[in-house]
């Protein structure tokens, strides 16, 4: 909420407004805007974001104050035993503990990077002055959002992805299309790259990249590293607590219990699906298992995901290739936003909906949407999948016209 979800969505909204005003206002009939005279005030956008975040934080403190059974302490917690915790100077004991420590950018071993100086998502949300140029290292969630954001603000963005396409785990035709859209907006996107070295020279930073068999050099004012996240467990005293790690993440079972029987762990710290909504789902389950000993297991069968570019890419469940690899005979239904009157009306007739179902049972196995408001549209598919249902209800139920959801309905009809 401070350096991820809400801040990025707030700043991405500024990028959308900038893009509309500078690049598209004439198309919508707005006159009097000279694209060359339009500039972006990053400090003002960051202030708007900070204001929104502060409001949400105030609400959190208010809720904590109201809950008489919660004592809140600001400070760094360190276990000295499975039940003893030192919070800065204060010693406390806890029968059970929950590690809800989240994640931080993974260290990335590029020779010279540290000396050259780089920023991560944390600093990228706090810049006061718009950089003239930026190299984004990483083609995943953070990489594509920041690349589009800064490109729309007016920064010359070079993006270096390691995989053959951005968002490499997503449905290929959709992530390929997202890459095309970023390129069309001016992002200098390079895929299948390996960054071999970074440095600084004459006030500019550079990276040396192995790409298509040769070595290339890119320069920019700012290097943004967006290459994955690890559990934030430094100086937490996990070995004193008896908690074992599973690689860079906290090891926890399906009941969210760690190797220490009275210590539980949830959310990003456990790796896997590192989304806020997963942590929010985990929280009450950990609490129920501790206080009521319910032995409840997490069910990550249907966890939607979204990257908040414009258009948005959102998905749930399996890709077509994953479904086939798991032995399913599949049926695929697709529909384009180009065929949507509403998408045309709002000026975003791009992208598609792709649904995947088991051919025998009709059960929905996955849904993939690249398009305007895909992050909201995906939930119709989520609900059907949660009920282990087919796409029948989506295909047959009446959808408001004209809405973007009609494209989801068309894809569902195409499945049959």
């Amino acid at each position: 909420m401070n350096e991820g979800c809400i801040p990025t969505k707030t700043l991405l909204r500024s990028a959308e407004v900038m893009h509309l005003v500078r690049d598209r206002s004439a198309e919508f009939g707005v006159r009097g805007i000279d694209p060359k005279s339009v500039s972006f005030d990053l400090a003002a956008a960051v202030a708007r974001k900070d204001n929104i975040v502060a409001g949400i934080q105030a609400g959190i403190y208010k809720n904590l104050d109201r809950n008489k059974n919660i004592t809140f302490m600001k400070g760094h917690a360190e276990f000295t035993s499975p039940v003893d915790i030192r919070i800065d100077g204060t010693l406390v004991t806890a029968e059970n503990s929950v590690l809800a420590v989240g994640s931080q950018p993974a260290p990335y071993a590029i020779p010279g990077l540290k000396e050259a100086g780089f920023i991560t998502n944390y600093e990228a949300l706090k810049l006061e002055e718009l950089p003239n140029s930026m190299i984004v290292i990483g083609g995943g969630y953070e990489g594509v959002e920041f690349a589009q954001m800064y490109a729309r603000y007016g920064t010359a963005v070079t993006m270096l992805g390691r995989a053959p396409r951005v968002m490499p785990k997503e449905e290929p035709e959709l992530s390929e299309k997202l890459g095309d859209i970023l390129r069309e907006e001016g992002v200098d996107l390079h895929t299948s790259t390996e960054v071999v070295r970074a440095g600084a020279e004459n006030g500019a930073r550079f990276v040396l990249v192995r790409e298509a068999g040769s070595e290339r050099r890119y320069e920019a004012e700012v290097l943004l590293l967006a290459v994955g996240r690890n559990a934030r467990v430094e100086n937490l005293g996990l070995s004193e607590a008896g908690v074992e790690m599973d690689g860079p993440y906290v090891g926890a079972d399906r009941r969210l219990r760690t190797s220490a029987s009275n210590i539980w762990s949830l959310g990003d710290a456990n790796g896997g699906l590192m989304f806020t909504h997963r942590a929010t789902y985990d929280g009450p389950i950990a609490a129920l298992n501790i206080v009521k000993a319910l032995g409840r297991e997490v069910d990550y069968r249907v966890v939607p995901r979204a990257v908040f570019t414009e258009p948005t890419l959102a998905s749930v469940g399996l890709t077509e290739a994953e479904a086939r690899a798991q032995g399913h005979e599949v049926r695929v239904g697709t529909a384009d936003f180009a065929g949507s009157g509403r998408a045309k009306a709002i000026g975003l007739p791009v992208g598609m909906v792709k649904l995947i179902a088991d051919d025998g049972t009709g059960e929905l196995l996955g849904g993939h949407i690249l398009g305007p408001r895909a992050d909201d549209l995906i939930h119709e598919v989520v609900t059907a999948m949660y009920k282990k249902g087919s796409a029948e209800a989506i295909a047959k139920s009446i959808h408001v016209h004209p809405t973007l959801s009609e494209v989801v309905k068309r894809a569902a009809k195409a499945l049959r």
């Binding site: 909420m1 989240g102 949830l266 929280g283």
Partner: protein
């Protein structure tokens, strides 16, 4: 002497907050600790 809690939740982010509230609402004496900003990443 140290304060004793039923449940200590380390991290007041979007997972720690619902865990703390749920445990507290179920009657546990909860300590919630955060070293940065509440609300998480």
């Amino acid at each position: 002497m140290s304060d004793a809690y039923d449940v200590a939740v380390i991290g007041a982010g979007q997972g720690g907050l619902p865990a703390a509230h749920m445990a507290a609402n179920l009657g546990a004496k909860v300590l919630l600790v955060e070293d940065r900003e509440v609300g998480g990443t």
